[in-house]
Every structure is written in C-alpha cells, then in structure tokens.
Symmetry: C2
Subunit: 281 residues, 2 copies
DNA sequence: CATGGCCATCAGGATCACTTATCGCAGGTG
DNA sequence: CACCTGCGATAAGTGATCCTGATGGCCATG
C-alpha cells in the first residue's frame, strides 16, 4: 500500500481512465496499469472494472480511505518542513464564507494578507497541508463547545467568537412574524443544503443543494422561498430580502474558530493575536 | 515519506535505539540507519539526535503525525481485506469499561463472543484495524449528540443508549447531601484523571491520574477522597462506598455508541442488531 | 589502554519500478 | 466487412533502489 500506488489509484478513479491518469501524473500508461495491478495483487481484490473504468465495491471502500490518508501524509510533510522554513512575511488566511465578519475585518492589517475563501470543510486541510498559514472556520455548535472539524492533522484550535443564529424565511412565511423560532417548529420545513457556505445541518430532506460559496446567492434563494437557511443573525438580517427570525432553541450558536499549525510565527502570529484579542472563547 | 521509513522512525524513537529497532523490525542496523538518513534527507531536517537517541523538535512533530497515519493505513488495508473475507462466525467485541452495562449483558449471546476491554480511545482503532468486529464506546455528551471519537477511519456509528450521570463524592463531602449538583458547584474541585475508563473531562487540575481500566479501583479512589469521578449514575450508585449525586447541569448524559466497519455481516450483524434493538438513539 | 556497544558509511548484489515496444480488444467509420 | 483508433494488458530491458555484510569512528566502561 505504497502512497504512490494509492495516489495513482485515486487519480485513475477520478478520471475513469488509466491513460488520463498517466498523463496527469507524468507516468506512462504502462506504469499506471502496473500500479493498479500491484495494488490489486496486494489486496487480493479487483479494485476497478476496465472498459468502462469504474471502482468496484472494494475500490469504493479504498477510495474512502485514500483521500484522508493522502491528505494526512501531505499535512505531515508540510508540518515538518514548516518548522525549518522562515516565518512568513506575508500571511495567507483560509476562511469559510461566514467567518468573514466584523471581527475579521477589524483585525485585518492594511496590507500583507491574502484571503482565500474556501468551503468550511476544506479549511482545515488547507491549513494542515501548508497552503495557508492560518484558517478561520465557522459552524453551528452548542455554546462554548468546539466545532466538529475533520481531523486531518493536529491543529491548534482557538475559539474567536460566538454569534446568535437566525433562520432566514421568505416574506409571507407563516412563521415570519414570530419573534423567535425553535428548530422543532421547522421540523417539516425544507432546508437549503449548502455545504460550501457552512452550517451543515444534517439536511436529510434538502430542497435545493447549493454548491457555491457566495452568501448573497444563498440568501436570495432562501428569500425566494426555495428553502430555509440557518445563518448568523447578523448575516440573515443584512440579507435585504426575506425575514430573519432568531433561533431560540435548541441552544445553538454560530461559532468561529482560528486554526493554526503549531504555534504561529512571524506575521501569522501577529494576525492570530489580533483575531483572538478581546474574547477568546 | 514511505510508510516503511515512518514505521522504522517511530520504532527507533520508541526504543531510543537504532539497533533495537532493527532487531524488532527484522532489518539490519545498517538498514535502519539508512532509513532514518533517507527521511532526514527528504525532510531536510534532523529528526533524531544520536547518542543519546532522542527526537528533535522536528522529530516530535513528525511523531505526532506518524502514529495516526500508520493507523489509518492499517485501517484502510484491513477494511478492504475484510470485504473479501468470510463473515466471522465468532465475534470479537471491543468495549470501553463503562460500556459494559445491562444493555450489553442482555444482548450477549451465550457463546461465540470474545469481549476485549480497552481504554475508550483505543476502541475505534481496534475496530478499524480489524482486531475486533464491533466496538462499544462511551463518553459524556450533550443529549442525542454523537461522541467525539478520533477518526481513524470511516466507521459506522450507532447510538445505543444514554444514561444519567452522577458525581461520586467521598462520604462527608460538603455536597454529599445534595439531591443534585451542577459542575459549576465543583469548579474548584479536584478530579481523577482516568483516560482508561472514560469520561475524559478536560481535567486541567487533576488530583490523581489513574491509568487502569478497572472501575472498582476508580470508585475506591473517589470514595476515599482522592478526587471526584464523573460516572453513569448506575455505576456510581453501585460503587458501595462514597455518595453518588446526580448531575443536574450542564445537560450531559453518558452516551454509548456501537462502532462497526461498514455494515456488519454474519454473527457480528446478529450481535449488532441485539445491541441496537430497543432504542437506537 | 583494551573492550564492547552503538551508529555511520561503503561496496556489492538482488530486487524493484519505470520505460519502450507490442499485443488484444472494442467501437466507430467508410 | 475491412480498417482505423484508442484503451488497457503484457513482455523485456535498464537504471535506480533497498537491502546485507564489512568496516570505521566514537564513547563509555573496566
């Protein structure tokens, strides 16, 4: 189970093509064929059907493991290399869309920071594998409970803020006049499943799935009645359309956390200090 | 970053010896020396001091990654191999100490099950790497919230029960007469840090650290006033010494979950069904 | 000062992992 | 129906690799 073999396996599976994977990885088609054969021999199971190329059940299972595995491997390498590298003069900050709020805007220095907006699920990976120096993620959580983040690597997690949540309802929704709602009141409602923005309730019965990272588009969808959206109250009220009704129960907050690999150094440390200043949670 | 190199690295670090690692891994000392040299060359950093052999800061960092990484690798391999293997006739069940309760005892068939008691943190790894067919873990959680488990592999998690919690106080403790306590009441108290048993509160100010997996010993310690213990009410009241006072806040329960790799088959499926029967949470 | 344990280094040989070249097979095309 | 094209499997060759065994330097011990 050489990581190289694993890497070509996931590439082949992604492209559904041996030759395509060979081109992408800079191997010959023959090498790729041998890689897959080696993996299949080692695991004593067919991993891919040929013609058309598609993963078998065993292959699917292996794919589920391979992604996180290769990610962790990259993270480990990046983490050790970072120890030797000079502290960054210019900071790259990975943020999930909802983490861009007043706190971040206030802490941001005039220059020297690159902001990279990513879906929340990808922020930890970006920080761990060294693509970014710091990360800001957000999500719903019980008050003062840490977020449930995918653990790609041992990252330092610091809470930087908690906000009230609200549900964004279309104008004229039966509950739009209420001062507050409970999630129970909305048990039968249809939600917008927007993994790229955050607040991923287990949206079993999602109305629309929205894959972008743009908040305005999400709010527009919700205001137009295509499904409900759970957002920080601040964002829901600024949406300009629809009605934001605060959430009164279950007791949930919109929590934002700062991620860093080890202890930040250089310019990253300064930014981290400004972000956590005030009320570390 | 070949996993083989990583494996010899962690072995060398654990034994603080190149030759020792060579003996254990079935290599020559020369090979081990070359492995470490290859890793250090690849990462461009010294990972180990020689004479005495000890990890450098970079080595420590790498060690933190290497363990989970190798675990995941084993888990992936075991998971795929399991698909091909025949469904087990005899089931091995990994359990954390507090998960051994009435529910398990009722579900256990007369024969054909091996019970392996492990610290809760090791149960997911045992299930993922194929040492056990099923696992029962427990821990404190908000009601109907899943436990926070180390994610060594994508495991199927099913809640099987939630119980009330209680604090085990020594006789004569100021709060021993109370009908219920809040954790806030015990903010200044000293707790027993017992990672092998479960309920790992972030015991910053632990009195004693207890590393066994035996509940009776833990209860005895608590009853003797060496520190407080948070336990399922059922266990705390059966302790025989000390006073069990139910926890009234924050709203926490003792939750037990069943872990299985994919969908259980054969005898494991039968046991899983009996364990989850009744009230899957 | 001799000795023994430990790690680094070197040289050599088996093995491995890639490339090039070729084959078999399916689908599309005239 | 013959032909071409694109894909994956296979065979053979070659340079790199990864081991072993031997040797050397260093340090602690008696």
């Amino acid at each position: 189970m050489d990581p190289h073999l694993l890497r070509t396996f996931v590439t082949v599976a992604r492209l559904s093509s041996f030759s395509g994977a060979a081109r992408e990885l800079g191997y010959t088609q023959s090498a790729v064929s041998q890689h897959i054969a080696a993996l299949e021999g080692d695991l004593r199971a067919e991993l891919l059907t040929r013609r058309p190329v598609a993963p078998t059940p065993a292959g699917v299972r292996l794919l589920e493991h391979a992604g996180p595995l290769l990610l962790r491997l990259d993270a480990a390498r990046a983490d050790v290399l970072r120890l030797a590298a000079a502290p960054p003069g210019r900071v790259t900050l990975a943020v999930s869309p909802l983490a861009v709020g007043p706190r971040l805007l206030a802490a941001l220095p005039a220059t020297g920071v690159t902001l990279r907006v990513l879906p929340p699920a990808e922020v930890p990976a970006a920080v761990a594998t060294g693509g970014c120096d710091l990360g800001l993620v957000d999500g719903p959580a019980a008050p003062s409970d840490p977020l449930r983040l995918p653990d790609v690597a041992p990252l330092t997690v610091t809470g930087v803020g908690e906000e009230e949540l609200a549900v964004l309802l279309p104008d004229g929704h039966p509950l739009a006049g209420r001062a507050a709602v409970r999630l129970d009141d909305l048990a039968d409602a249809r939600w917008i499943d927007a993994p790229g923005v955050g607040l991923p309730l287990t949206a079993a019965r999602a109305a629309v799935r929205y894959e972008g990272t743009d908040l305005l588009a999400l709010c527009a969808l919700a205001a137009a009645g295509h499904g409900l959206a759970l957002l920080p109250r601040r964002v829901a009220e600024a949406a300009g359309a629809g009605v934001a009704v605060p959430l009164s129960g279950p007791r949930l907050v919109h929590r934002t956390e700062l991620l860093s690999p080890g202890t930040p150094t250089g310019a990253a440390a300064a930014l981290a200090a400004r972000l956590t200043a005030g009320s570390p949670v």
